[in-house]
Symmetry: C2
Subunit: 184 residues, 2 copies
DNA sequence: TATAAATCAGACCGTTCTGTATGAATTTTT
DNA sequence: AAAAATTCATACAGAACGGTCTGATTTATA
């Protein structure tokens, strides 16, 4: 198997399960079954590995959400599908919160390399909500502009992920889902 | 000045500004103007200092929010007051996100000592929203139980704090505020 | 088969970390 | 003033960290 992929996969799993700072280079190479010198040939620093992890997760999360949404036609059902998909994750055994918000908690905001990827993913989510609302005729949300409503849904979504991790329970997704539908 | 308080104040500032892991014991004692031995006489470990910090912030945040709410009478205005107070914080120079969610991002969920305090603060917030809605006659929120609505407001709130940190901007508070009012 | 590229194991470096030990100096209490 | 408690400065222990280097060994290319 590709050495680079072995490293990235192992690092991704460990970064997500136990956090970035808590994961040492030595553990990564050991569990990946790879020499330390090999790791530093593919990634010139631990931070480079972190960036690769975040980019990897960006592609994965956004494409999954877009796929879930594409199975529905009505805006309301697309929104519901997103929260149901989230519920699937928060209920699964391997759930440890949002990959991006977790890193945001460990890395200082001054680190633009890291935060640019984090914001890119969040912007992707917001854009998805905005597109769903845009391609919709119902309601015409007079009290709130479409942008602001999309951001409201996004905040419920991210608040729910974070809360699920803190509480070790998925009731926040249920509450967020209900509130989201009420906002439409 | 009281040595213990000097230590706790300095640690609180540093933990909030640069994070828990990024703050070393040596920096704390240096900036507090205190000997290392003194620190370990008041706090038997760094984790004990973290707990003290969280408990300290718990008292402070909850009492501040309760005070802000107490200046209004109508539920809608109480809710608005909370988000306006949040906006005050997110716009201030020293804002670095939520003290509790920041720590949650650094400490593994298995650490119950830490997470119990974090959940205590979140429960305090949820209870505050629930009380506000309970003491209110308007609407009778038939679609959503009072509990679930309170949690919706809480999720908007926490989502906004987290997002403000990630974006380095306070637009999320505005969006959350608008959505919160729409939920009422 | 010969050459080049990739991966290997692991010693090693310098730094940083939390936490302990010591014994003197200072402050508070009696 | 004497006794007790606190705080002082600092050296040290022990471990973990990210990262570099070496030189052998395997794998792929020509």
């Amino acid at each position: 198997m590709d050495t680079r992929k072995k490293i990235l996969d192992t690092a991704s799993r460990l970064f997500y399960q136990q956090g970035y700072n808590a994961t040492g280079i030595n553990q990564i190479i050991e569990e990946a079954g790879v020499a330390k010198a090999s790791l530093y040939e593919h990634f010139k620093s631990k931070e480079d590995l972190l960036i690769a992890y975040l980019e990897f997760m960006f592609e994965q999360t956004i494409s999954r959400f877009r796929h879930v949404v594409s199975t529905k036609v009505e805006a309301k059902e697309k929104i519901s599908a997103i929260f149901e998909f989230l519920s699937l994750n928060t209920n699964s055994k391997g759930f440890h919160g949002c990959q991006f918000l977790n890193i945001a908690g460990e890395i200082p905001v001054e680190n633009l390399r890291v935060y640019d990827v984090i914001r890119k993913q969040k912007n992707g989510l917001r854009a998805l909500f905005a597109e769903i609302l845009k391609s919709d005729s119902m309601g015409d949300h007079e009290l709130q502009s479409g942008e602001s409503l999309a951001d409201g849904l996004y905040l419920l979504f991210d608040g729910a992920i974070m809360s699920c991790k803190v509480y070790g329970d998925s009731w926040p997704v249920v509450a967020a889902h209900k509130s989201a539908l009420k906002l439409l």
